[in-house]
């Protein structure tokens, strides 16, 4: 797979009077062709600064940005514009021109390069059809809802047939329902046109729903990155765990914890994470019949990560110590991730 975006050791320093602000520190990451890559972090983490470095809206203080292998540093203005035309971008505040109607907003990138009128009309109609706004051609942005505005912005971003779409908090100004529909649209665009998407967000839900890979940013640095499945099933950093908690709580409720603390019976508490098909296997029954253990379900949670089912089950098992060990081995062989929870998580 080819790397469409390559960021190497990107740093961005701002000066505010005498004060130095290191908005982005040594970030290295690649985005593969056709994937949806998410960057998550709290406000002020440096996400916007980083994504703006990708199309050189912001020039990094140091480091290298390559788009399809082309180094952006040192490009002439015209060359940079040519690269930018291959990269669409959408924003939290839509950034449409309020003085022109929907049609002209979508047509803007084509008008900039003097595309023939008929070609523009054809393309704009096609895009408005894609985003479901055929009847809004003549409307002005102020007559549209937030979701509709973002659809117009998406159509505009796609007008020049870009290979890459950058999304800076594209759903953060929208209500949950509208967010869902915009995310569905982004997913459709990604599949239909094979457009590589790089998005930034502060919502884990966005990552879980459409991203393939994710990087977690904190104080200007990428502290963790990997496939969304890996990050959700085995988060390493405290901040990542926090984000995951917001969509998928795998910690035991405190009431239950207290009860277990006082339970003197011999046994262990296990957290079993399962992915995809494994979700259907009768593992608890196997533990009982093959290892004569007594599993008790304490807590469970199941969710969908993009197309894959991901679940987590916390069980207590009682029985002989050796049988418990054998049981854990067995579970591990079933491609399940097992963690033994010592008390007080």
């Amino acid at each position: 797979m080819s790397k469409v975006i390559q960021l190497e050791q990107i740093s961005k320093r701002y000066y505010q009077g005498k004060r130095e602000i290191d908005a982005v520190k040594n970030v290295t990451l690649d985005v593969q062709k056709g994937e949806i890559f998410g960057i998550i972090g709290y406000s002020g983490a440096g996400k916007s600064t980083l994504i703006r470095c990708v199309n050189f809206l912001e020039q990094p203080t140091s480091g290298s940005v390559r788009i399809n292998g082309i180094e952006l540093e040192g490009l002439k203005r015209a060359e940079l514009r040519a690269v930018r035309r291959r990269i669409g971008m959408i924003f939290q505040n839509f950034n449409l021109l309020s003085s022109i109607n929907v049609f002209d907003n979508v047509a803007a990138p084509l008008q900039l390069v003097k595309t023939p009128k008929e070609a523009i009309t054809k393309k704009v109609r096609e895009l408005l059809d894609l985003v479901g706004l055929t009847d809004k051609e003549e409307s002005f942005p102020h007559q549209l809802s937030g979701g509709q505005k973002q659809r117009v912005a998406i159509a505009r971003a796609l007008a020049s047939d870009p290979e890459i779409l950058l999304c800076d908090e594209a759903t953060s100004a929208l209500d949950p329902q509208t967010t869902e529909s915009i995310l569905d649209l982004l997913l459709e665009i990604n599949r239909k046109y094979k457009i590589t998407i790089m998005l930034i967000t502060h919502e884990m839900h966005v990552i879980k729903k459409i991203c393939d890979r994710v990087a977690v940013m904190e104080n200007g640095e990428v502290v963790e990155q990997g496939t969304v499945m890996d990050i959700i099933s085995a988060p390493q950093q405290p901040i990542t765990k926090n984000f995951i908690k917001s969509i998928f709580d795998v910690t035991l409720p405190s009431v239950l914890l207290n009860k277990l603390e006082n339970d003197k019976r011999p046994g262990k508490i296990l957290r079993i994470s399962f992915v995809g098909e494994n979700a259907a296997d009768p593992i608890l029954a196997d533990l009982a019949t093959q290892f004569t253990l007594r599993p008790t379900i304490l807590y469970g949670n199941i969710t969908q990560i993009k197309e894959t089912i991901f679940g987590c089950l916390i069980i207590g098992v009682t029985g002989e110590a050796s049988a418990i060990e054998a049981g854990i081995d067995y579970l591990t062989q079933q491609q399940l991730r097992i963690e033994v929870i010592e008390h007080a998580e």
Binding site: R81, R84, G88, L97, S98, I100, P109, S160, L166
Partner: protein
């Protein structure tokens, strides 16, 4: 009293028509020239700022200071001070022609400031969106800045026009005529209150009309 007005009208009717024409000519011509210059300077003031399209501190500072200096002079002082310049440009200092140069020098910097603030109102995000789609700097000026700022520009020009009407009244001093001139010569120097009041009424009506027109136009352009 009413009779006075009727008399005044029948006596000076032609004078009023004539003076309104003169005011119209002075204001109209100066406004067109000042708007062109002012809009241009306003754009330069905005794009040469720090972190802007054509960042250039030297050009910005020179323009900024020059505009401030011109803006600190009252019209009557400015008019006299630039007599040599007026002579140079139009070959004389008398009549409507002689009034236009000082009116432009007075109004253009004012419009430049008004345009500057209208242009600064344009959403940075929209400019950024156009940069991201590969627009040239000049395309951003014409397609984003000048388009998005239209309501503010219209309001600014409205304000400037009203200021210009006021200044034009003083241009009577150089024999440019106009309503202000009639008010001074007949209303004050010859002490004919009816003429004075009539001139005031005309000025008020004209200013009202200009303001209403500007407000309506700006409202139409503002699509928010």
């Amino acid at each position: 009293m009413l009779n006075n007005f009727i008399d005044s009208f029948s006596e000076y009717g032609d004078l009023y028509v004539q003076s309104i024409r003169e005011t119209g000519a002075m204001v109209g011509i100066s406004l067109v020239i000042s708007t062109i210059i002012g809009l241009l300077l306003g754009v330069v003031l905005v794009v040469t700022r720090r972190n802007n399209l054509y960042e250039n501190p030297i050009v910005y500072q020179i323009l900024n200071v020059t505009i401030n200096i011109l803006r600190s002079l009252p019209f009557i002082v400015l008019m006299v001070a630039i007599i040599p310049l007026t002579k140079l440009i139009v070959g004389g200092t008398i009549g409507v022609k002689g009034a236009i140069v000082p009116l432009v020098v007075y109004t253009a910097p004012y419009i430049a400031r008004l345009m500057e603030s209208a242009l600064l109102e344009v959403d940075k995000g929209v400019i950024e969106a156009y940069q991201a789609m590969g627009a040239t700097r000049n395309q951003i000026i014409t397609r984003v800045l000048l388009r998005e700022s239209r309501p503010g520009v219209v309001l600014g020009i409205t304000i400037a026009t009203i200021g210009l009407i006021g200044a034009s009244a003083m241009a009577g001093v150089v024999g440019a005529g106009g309503l202000g001139d009639v008010a001074i010569r007949y209303g004050y120097q010859r002490w004919e209150p009816a003429v004075m009041v009539t001139c005031i009424v005309f000025l008020v009506l004209i200013v009202q009309a200009v303001q209403s027109l500007g407000t309506v136009l700006a409202k139409r352009l503002r699509r928010r």
